[in-house]
Every structure is written in C-alpha cells, then in structure tokens.
C-alpha cells in the first residue's frame, strides 16, 4: 500500500481529505454509509412476460418506446428528456419487458424512497407474471428478482449487475452532483442504462451525446394538456399565511385536494400548526416523519383535505385533481428545477388534467422567473406538436 495514494475499493474516491486511518489502514470516509449485504449474481432463463396495462399509450409514447427498445438492442444508452406527467414510466415498459423476457437483470432506480414504494406497486400490477423486488432503507432482505426497484443509495449492493438500468429524476436530491452515488450507479451496470429527467442541464445533455448516448424527447403530456403556469402572489411575509388560508378555503369548497410546499421541516410544522386550528382535516409530512407513507396513503384515500410538506413530495407522487401552493417560493432552497417539478404535480391524471399552482413569496427572484419561462416554453412546444399533427 503506497503511503501517498489510496483508491477506495467501493466508490473509487482518491481525495485524501476524505480518507482516514483506522487500525493502521486507510479507509474511505465518503462512502461510510454504503455498506451491507450485496446481491448475488444470478443466471436467469428466457421467460414469458405479460403486460397488464389498462390504458393505451399515445402515439408519441409508442414511438418513443420503440426507439428505446432499438437503442437497447444496439447496446446504446438513452436519455429521455420529458416533461413531468408525460408518462415517462409507460414508455420504458416495452424495453423492460424485452430485457426481462431474455432473462436479463433489469433495474428501475429513483433517488427518493416514497417514489420507489409507489412505483414498485405499479410495476407489480403491470408485470404480474414476474417477480418485482423493491429495495430501500429498512427493506433490503430480498435483493434480486426479474425486476429490481430500488433507491439510488441501494445501488452499492449491485456490482456489475444490471444489463438494463433505468434511472428517473437524475437531477433530484440527493443524486445530482453526488460523486459517491454516481460512482455506485456506474459500478452497478454491466450493460446499458436509460436516464430520465424533465430538467437536465444543457451541459449534461451535450456530454451525454458526446459519449455516444441517444437523447429522446417527449414534450407532450400524455393527456395533451399544457403544464399549469404558476400564479405568483407577492406580499409581505406576515400576509402570506393569510393568503394561504383564503386559497385553502377556496380549494376545500371545490372539493380539491391540496399540497402546501414549505422550504424547511421547521416551517412545515409551523405552517401546519397554524392551519390545523382553522382547517382540522389535514396533516403534514417531511423526511423525519416516520409514518409518512401511511399519511400519504390516507391522503390519497381522501382522509385529509390537505398536506403540508417539504420537498419530499416534490416528485413522483400522483394525486387526482391536486392543487398546489408553494409557501415562500423565493426561499433559497427552491431552484427553478424544483419549482418546475412541484408544478408538475398538478394535472397529472387523465380525468382531471387542470389545476392551480400558486407561488406565495415576499419578492420575485430569478428562480421563480426561470421556472415560469421553462413551463411556458414547454407548453409552446406542445402547441407546435399539435400544429404539425393537422
């Protein structure tokens, strides 16, 4: 062992600032929490795959599904650049079932725990004749199956394992800019990957293409309605909560479920405390709330009229007829990416495509402006798509 250099055998880190000495030996301090049972390699035969999807794909979706399959068969990586709610999950079903039918190792990965739980339930319903295994914090006894659904954190368990790995929301916390998670992601793949995102950076896209990957774009929401353009209300801070009361009152009268996004856990509890005395039928969720899966489930069953939440519900959750209020939208924690993702929670289900997105702030900032420009741009693209169809 050289006295001056060390390469972590797990995450590849070589930065001596994050390397310590334990019992006379070097150890990596960057990937400390990534230790545990590893998945054993498996050999699987070709098998039947039966899809169970009770709705049709749109023309755009079907076209893309075929392109993704062709790319995979040609051993190319793909990047799906698609708007929120455009049905990204549906367009990868074709390539996934192809890979499963060939007995290959297939994985679907997202950064957030709540999203993985919801997604693996969906996949279990779709691929009823195959084993779908979900792996996330506290739920890692079973690691293999025809389809593995896990959080990005769990990828450390899979070494040169996946023939096809699909990763959604790559720009979400904590995956974005995280060297360790990215290192384990690369290490887990022995075949090809498909990345999906609604808000990638231009730099990322051009590097991806340079490395031989294919970018596919899907800008129509699968029900062909535009993304809701957020309405912004600027007023002094003490007035924001009052505006919030008025909006919630209006939405509850119209029987619409509501998400109220807050920038921090502390603010989340504070706002809920203020709201619950006037509107008792609500709850709150954040990353430190241990029973949040239960609460989200109850909200979907209409047990609550509103949920006060942090960024934990920014992505991946689908609720019919949802209305969204972003409290303190000019807070430094909100990038234009996250504001676009939050707006994407609205109008997701075919039966109820329109809803309101309200930003409450005490002043405008560049991130709010940029998010509105992005959404208006995506909607213009949508209009252009329709122009070409006629």
């Amino acid at each position: 062992m050289s006295a001056f250099s060390f390469v972590c055998p797990f995450c590849g880190n070589t930065n001596m600032d994050s390397i310590g000495v334990r019992n006379g030996k070097f150890y990596c301090r960057k990937c400390l929490s990534f230790r545990g049972q590893e998945a054993k390699s498996r050999i699987s035969k070709e098998k039947d795959v039966v899809w169970n999807l009770n709705y049709e794909l749109s023309n755009d979706q079907a076209k893309l599904a075929q392109i993704l399959l062709n790319n995979y068969q040609k051993k190319k990586n793909s990047f799906v650049y698609a708007v929120c709610g455009s049905g990204k999950t549906e367009i990868v079903l074709r390539v996934m079932s192809y890979a499963i039918s060939k007995g290959q190792n297939v994985g679907f990965v997202v950064p957030r725990r709540e999203v993985i739980i919801e997604l693996s339930e969906r996949f279990k319903k779709i691929f009823q004749s195959n084993t779908v295994t979900s792996v996330y914090g506290g739920h890692s006894k079973m690691l293999i199956g025809d389809l593995v659904c896990c959080t990005t954190h769990q990828l450390y368990r899979y070494n040169q394992y996946f023939d096809l790995l699909i990763i959604d929301e790559i720009d979400a916390f904590p995956f974005r800019n995280n060297e360790v998670l990215n290192a384990f992601f690369k290490k887990s793949i022995r075949g090809n990957f498909i990345m999906m995102s609604a808000t990638p950076s231009q730099k990322y896209l051009s590097e991806f293409e340079k490395n031989g990957g294919c970018i596919v774009e899907l800008f129509s929401r699968f029900h062909a309605y535009p993304l809701p353009v957020p309405e912004v209300f600027i007023m002094p801070k003490p007035m924001l909560i009052i505006k919030c009361y008025r909006l919630i009152n209006k939405f509850i009268k119209n029987q619409k479920p509501i998400f109220i996004f807050t920038p921090t856990i502390k603010k989340c509890e504070e706002v809920f405390h203020n709201l619950k005395s006037i509107f008792p039928s609500g709850n709150y969720v954040h990353s430190k709330r241990s029973n949040r899966e239960q609460i989200i489930g109850d909200f979907k069953l209409n047990k609550y009229r509103y949920l006060v939440t942090t960024a934990v519900l920014e992505r991946g959750v689908t609720v019919k007829g949802l209305q969204v209020i972003v409290f303190e939208a000019n807070h430094s924690i909100y990038s234009s990416y996250s504001l676009v993702q939050i707006a994407g929670r609205v109008g997701r289900k075919k039966e109820e495509p329109e809803g309101e997105v309200i930003f409450l702030a005490n002043e405008l900032n560049e991130e709010i402006n940029k998010s509105i420009r992005t959404i208006e741009e995506a909607n213009k693209n949508l209009q252009n798509l329709f122009k070409n169809d006629t």
Binding site: G20, R22, N23, Y27, R29, L32, S33, R35
Partner: protein, 169 residues
C-alpha cells in the same frame, strides 16, 4: 453541538454529562459506532480536551463494557476513541459476562445490570482514582452495575463522566 456540562448523581457518585443525547448527537454517534468512522470520534471533546484533562488529571478511565466481537469488527472501541483526546490512561476493568446489546434491552431488563458484567483484571485499585466513562447515559443501569463492581476494590475516589445523557420527556 451545544455542551451542557450537566452535573448529576448516580447513587452516591458524582457524575458529569457533556451533551444532551439529541438527534445531532445520535447521528454523529451512529457514524462513529455504526459506520466505523474512527476519525470522527474526537469531535465530541476536541474543543475542551485540555480543560477536561486537567479536571480529571490523576484519574484512570474505565470504559463501560462492550462486545469483543463488535470491537474486533469495528477495529476500535468507540468509547475509548471518544475519550482519547483527554490523554488520560485507560483500563478495561470490566467486561460483559455474555454478549448482549444494551440498546436492545428494555427498562426492566436493564435493572439487573450487575449480573451482566464482571471484573476482568486483578489490578489493585486500592487508593486509586477511577473515572467511569461511557458514550450514552439512559437508565444508568450499566453505570450502576459498574459502580457496584468497583466499590469493593476500595478506590480512593469514583466519579462518572458520560459524553451524552438522554432526557426523558
């Protein structure tokens, strides 16, 4: 990390707790104990290591018993690593009579602590000053058990110092 320097008593023995066991301490301790991050252990006392050294100069530190197999897998003893910055001598006087995890015992089980530990050396502790040390003080059953085993050795003085103490609501 806000140190409390809380003085309290365990039976008739004077004790000192540096921090309240809250989410922050819990997270840091998990990284040291659960993720084997020995380099982080010194962070608890580094700010006032000189003061604590002088406060307890002449004392021998006796850590709460830990599992030998855990220490082997971790490649270090976490209590020793946390108190190392004090630059005071250690003596592993007491060990577990059989393997158990303190955190996994309920309150009732914890009250019979004395039966779970034993003295391992025949070192003469007569007339010596002993400082019992541990990372977290909850019911105090571990510390009480240790006091029970050490008192008969007739040291000159016994005191207790814990890095953190839980406060029941």
């Amino acid at each position: 990390m806000k140190p409390l320097f809380l003085k309290f008593r365990v039976v008739d023995i004077a004790a000192l707790a540096i921090y309240q066991y809250d989410e922050e301490i819990k997270t840091l301790l998990y990284q040291v104990k659960g993720c084997y991050d020995v380099e982080l252990a010194e962070v608890f006392f580094s700010r006032f290591k000189a003061e604590l050294h002088h406060l307890f100069k002449g004392f021998i530190l006796v850590p709460a018993p830990s599992s030998k197999s855990d220490d082997k897998e971790r490649e270090f003893n976490h209590v020793e690593a946390i108190f190392k910055p004090l630059k005071l001598p250690f003596l592993f006087l007491i060990e577990k009579a059989f393997p158990y995890k303190q955190a996994e015992l309920n309150a009732r089980q914890r009250t019979k602590a004395k039966t779970r530990m034993k003295l391992i050396t025949n070192n003469k502790m007569y007339g010596k000053k002993i400082l019992i040390v541990d990372d977290v003080y909850t019911t105090g059953s571990t510390i009480k058990g240790m006091i029970g085993l050490i008192k008969p050795l007739k040291p000159k003085k016994i005191m207790v110092m814990v890095m953190s103490k839980t406060f029941l609501k």
